[in-house]
Amino acid sequence: MYSNELDTSLESSWSWMLKFRDEICSLAFKPGSDGRRLLALKFMETVVLLYTPDPNGSSDPPADLDSEASVKEFNISWLRGGHPILNIGDLSIEASQSLGLLLDQLRFPTVKSLNNLIIIMLINSLSAIASKRPAFYGRILPVLLGLDPSSSSGKGVHHALKSAFLSCLNCTHPGAVPWRDRLIDALRELKAVGVAEHAAIELASQNSGSLERKNDSLITQDRKPTSKALDDIRNDASRKRTGMEESTDLLEDKMSVKRMKSVPVTSDGSTNDLSSDQGRVPSGGSGACKMEEDSGPVQQLVGMFGALVAQGEKAIASLEILISSISADLLAEVVIANMRNFPSNLPQIEGDNEQLFGRGSCPGMSGSNSEFDNLTLLLTNILSQSSAVPQKDSGMDSLPSAANELELRGTSGNTDVPGMSYVMEEASVPTTTPASSGGHAPCDTENGSGTPSDVIDVGNEESEIPGLDLPVPKDELVITSLGSTELKDASQEQVSSLARSSLELLPSVSTDRSEELSPRATVTDLSCVNSLSATSSGLSTQLLLPKISAPVISLSDDQLDNLQKPILLRITDTYKQIATAGGSQVCLSVLAYLGVKFPLDLEPWKLLQTHILSDYVNHEGHELTLRVLYRLYGEAEEDHDFVSSTTAKSVYEMFLLTVAETLRDSFPWPDKCLNRLLVEVPYLPDSILKLLEGMCSPGGSNKDNNNLERVRQGLSIVWSLILLRPPIRDACLTIALKSAIHPVEEVRDKALRLVVNKLYPLPSMSRQIEAFAWEVLVSAANANTALESCDADGANAEFKDSDMGKPSNELPVVGTSSKGLSAVTDSFSISENISSSLLAEGQRRMALYFAICTKNHSLFRQIFVIYESTSKAVKQAVLHHIPKLVRAIGPSPELLQILSDPPTGSMKLVMQVLHTLIDGTTPSPELLSTIKKLYDTKVKDVEILILILPFLPKDEVLAMFPHLVNSPVQSPTVAPHFLNVCGV
C-alpha cells in the first residue's frame, strides 16, 4: 500500500468516525430512551476529555504506543508536534462546543424537562470533566452552582451535586482555587436543604480547612486541621481515646451550630437594634460572608468589637456604649462565639504571651491579626501606665476569667451529650455562683473568688492522684489551664491537678453552671459593668490582666487509665456524702456520663455496678442504673459502626442482667424493685426474658417456698410487662403460658390464675391462649395414645369393663354429695397398667384448657369431641378435672346445649357431667328437660333417667316405670326411689 492510499484511508475512516460521533452525540439530546441517552452522554464526556489536553498527563507520547495501558491514557498533547489529520485547535473547539451542549442541558428551562437520572448523569459527567480539565472550571461550575437543588425532587440529585462540589473542592489545580469559596457556600446551602448531607458538608468544610479558618478564625495560626479529629471521632471505635483537644474541636463545631440556632431566640430586640449598625461591621473576608449570615448578629458583634478595639483608646467610650446597649444573653453569645477563635494549643513561645490577655476578659477580641496587635499594644500601654495597680488585684481578676474558661468549655462538653439536657436542668446547683458573662472581670470579683475556690478545692483533693510527673508524649491529650500568678507560684502539681480535675468534672458540673446563665444573673453583671464603666479606672482595671501561665499536660493512654479509675472511685465515694446533702442528681449524671466516656476495658461498669449493688436503695440504684442503661442504649442506637454498637449492646445486656439477678436474689417477693427496673429500662434483651422464664418456670420439680415466691415475683413482672411494654407482649405471654403447663402443680396454679383471670380477658391475647391450650391438649391426647399403644388390648378391655359396669354398680344414692362424687371418680380407679406419671402428664397438659373453659363455656364442647379418641390416661385426667370444671360453670345454657346433643362416644363424660350437676343440688327444670330430651332422642339408657328420678313428679315416674323394669341394668338405687314415689 502506498502512503497516499494510506492517507486517503485514514482520512476516510476519520470522516466516518466523525459521522459516528455526531450521530451518537445527537442521541444524547433526543428525547426517548434514557438508556441510550446515558450511554451517549458518557460518550460525549469521553469525547470532551479526549479532545482536550490532560494537565496531569505527560505531554509526550510514551515510547511504546502499542501497549494497551498507553492507549488508555491518551493525551491530545501528544499531537502538539503536528498530525496529518487531527488538528488540536479544531478538536479543542469541538470539545468546547460539546461541553456547551452538555451545559445547556442543565440550564433553565431545559433542565426542567429532564428526569433525575439524566440530571445526575450530567452532573457526574460535568464534575468529572471539571476535575480532570480544570481549565473548564469557569464554564462548568457556574452552571452547577446555578442548579437549584430544591427544585429537584430526587435526593440523588442533591447527593450528586454535593459529590461534584466535593470532588471539585478537592482538586489541587491552581485554576480551582478561586472557586473554593463559592463551592463551600454552595455546600452550606445544600446542608440547609437536607439533613442527611450534614456530615458530608462538615467534612467538606474541614477539607477546606485552611481557607475557612482564614476567614473564620482571626487569631488562630497554628491550629491543627480538625478533619482528622472529626473523622476519628465519627468513625473510629476507639474514639473514647481521642484527646480532649480533638473533642473540643468537634464540640466547637457543634456548638457553633447550636449557637446559630439559638441566636434568634435569645434576643430579637437586640438583633433589631443592631441592624442599623451593620454597615459599620467590617467584613471578615469575602469567603466568610456566608458564615456570617449563618451566625447572624453574634458574628457581626464579634467583628464590631474587633473593629472598635482596633481603633485603640479612642474607641473605649464606644466600646462601653456598645457593651451596655446589648443584652446580657447576647453578650454571652458573643463571648462564646469568640471562643473558637482561640488557638486550641496555647502558644509555646514566651514571647507570645500577649495572646493570653484576651482570654475571657475581652469580648471584643476579634477582627484581624493586626487588630489583635493593636489591642495588645493598647493593653501593654495601659499596663505600663497603671503601675500603681497591685499585682494581687490583677491576680484576683484573673480568676473569674479562668472560671469562665472552664465553664464555657463545659458548655461545649454538654453539646456532645445527647439526652443529657433534662439531667442538666434538674441538676442545677443553686449553691454555685451563676456564671458571669465573659469580659466583666471587675464586677465579678466577688463571684469569682467563690467560683475558683470551689475548683481549687477539688484540685486539692485530686492532687494525690499519681501519674502527673510522667513525660509528655506528642499528640496526646492537651489540657490547658489558666492560672494566676499566685497559682503559678503554687506547686506545679497542684495546678495541673486542678486542670485535670476540672476537666474531668466539666461535662456535668460546670455545664450546670453555664445552664444557669440566666438573664437575671447576667443583668446584674451588666449593671455592674455599667456602673464601673462610668470611670476610666474601671476600664483600666478590667484590662489589667496578669500573665497567665498555661501548663500543657499530655497524658498517655496508660496514664489516663491510671487516673480515671481512681477518679471514678473517688466520685462514687464522695457521692455518698453529697447524696445526703441533696446533690444526688448531679452525681448520678456524672457517674453515668463517666461510665460512657471511660474506656470499656477499664470496666467502669463494674465499679458502678459494685456501687449500685452495694446498697441499691440508699445509693439510688434504680435511678443510676436507668441512667447508665439509657446512656448505653444511646451509644448502641447512635449511628456508630458495627463494633461500637455491638459492644455497647453487649455491655448493656450484661449490666442489666447482673443488676436484675442481684435484685432477684436480694429483693424477693413482694418487693417491686426488679419489677420497676424492668418496666423502665430502654429495652429488654433476650437474656432478661430468659431470666424471667427461669423465674416463672423453675427447673425440676422442687416446690420449696423460695421457688414459689420467685414464681410469684416472675409472674407479677410478666403481668406488668404485658401491660406496659406492648412490643414484648408475645414473649411475656409465652413465658406465662409455659409456666401454666409447668409440671409442679403449685407453680401451674399460680400461672393459671394469671393467664385465665388477667390475660385471657384481654381481647388481643385470648385467641393465642386458646390456640396454645388446644395445642397442648391435643398433644397430650396424642402423646399418651402413643405411649399406651403397646398395651392397648388388655387395657382397653379392662377400661371397657370399668366403663360399662362399675360406675352404675358403685353409684351410691344420689344426694350424698362429695362422697358420691369421689365414688364416681374412684369408680375409674387407676388401673395398675396406667402409670401415675401419665396421669399427671395428662393433667398438666389439660389444666390450661379446662381453666379457660370456665371463662368461655363454648370451648367445653371440644373436650367432648376429642374424648373418645383419647387414651386412658387422658380420659382419666379429663374425668378428674370434670367435677371442678362443671361446678365452676354450673348448668349454663352452653353446657345444656352440649348435653342435649353430645358428640358420639362421649356418653361416659356426659354421665360424669350429669352426676356432678345433680350432685347435692336440685336440678333446674331446664336441666331436667335436657336430660329427658337426651333420653328421648339419643340415649336410650335408663340410667340417665335414674339420675333424675327423685326430682320428677309422681305421674312421670309411673310413666317411666315400664322402661325401668325392662332395663337390663338392675340398679340398686331404682327401688328406693320407686318405692318413695309410690308412697310406700
Partner: protein, 193 residues
C-alpha cells in the same frame, strides 16, 4: 434473574452478608463486598476489636472467636453471624479489589459513606466497557436486627428492578414509589464499567 448484583457495606460481615444470604436463597446472581481497610469485629472492649484482613476465611474467624470467648461472642451474635456467613461464601471480599469479578448491573450499598466510596472507586477505574451500573444506597444501621430488615427491603427493591423492562427508563418512579411505600430514603447514582 437478568441483573448481576453486588451488596456492599463496610466490613462484608453483617449488612452485605445478610443481604447476600437472602438474595442467594432467592436465586439472585449476587456477590458481596466491604469497602473498609480491614474487617473489624467487636471484641471484649471497644479498644480491643478483632481485626482481620479481607480474605481471612469466615471459618478462621469463627474458630478464633470461639476459642477466645464463646459465651461473649455467642451472646452478641457474632458467632451465629459468622456461621451464617461461612455458609454463604468463604471469606470477606474488598470492593476496591474486585475488578477481576467482572461488572455488575446493580450495586446496593447500606451506608452513605460506603456509597460514596463505591462511586469514587468506580469513577477512578478505567471505563472500558462503557456499561452503566446503577448504584443505590439504602441506609441501614449496622446491627443484626436492622440488617435483617434492610436485606428484606433490598430484596423488594431488586425484585422491583427485575420486573422492569430497563431500569434506566423507570428508575425515578421506582425509587419514588419505594421511598413512599417503605418510608425509607434512597440515594442513587450511575457509573460505568
Amino acid at each position: 434473574m437478568k441483573f448481576r448484583y453486588a451488596m456492599v457495606c463496610s466490613s462484608n460481615q453483617n449488612r452485605s452478608m445478610e443481604a447476600h444470604s437472602l438474595f442467594k436463597r432467592e436465586g439472585f446472581d449476587v456477590s458481596s463486598y466491604g469497602t473498609g481497610q480491614h474487617v473489624k469485629l467487636p471484641g471484649p472492649s471497644l479498644r480491643e476489636p478483632n481485626v482481620y484482613d479481607f480474605g481471612t476465611p469466615y471459618k478462621h474467624m469463627f474458630d478464633d472467636l470461639r476459642r477466645k470467648d464463646p459465651e461473649l461472642y455467642k451472646r452478641n451474635g457474632i458467632l451465629p453471624m459468622l456461621k451464617r456467613n461461612l455458609a454463604v461464601k468463604s471469606a470477606p471480599q474488598r470492593w476496591q479489589e474486585n475488578a477481576a469479578d467482572g461488572s455488575f448491573d446493580v450495586v446496593l450499598t447500606f451506608e452513605e459513606k460506603v456509597f460514596d466510596m463505591v462511586i469514587e472507586d468506580l469513577h477512578n477505574r478505567n471505563h472500558v466497557l462503557m456499561k452503566p451500573v446503577l448504584v443505590i444506597n439504602l441506609e441501614v444501621k449496622d446491627n443484626h436486627e436492622e440488617a435483617a430488615i434492610g436485606a428484606r427491603l433490598a430484596l423488594l427493591l431488586c425484585q422491583e428492578l427485575e420486573s422492569t423492562e430497563a431500569w434506566e427508563e423507570s428508575i425515578d418512579d421506582l425509587i419514588t414509589n419505594f421511598e413512599r411505600q417503605h418510608r425509607r430514603k434512597l440515594l442513587y447514582s450511575v457509573s460505568y464499567y
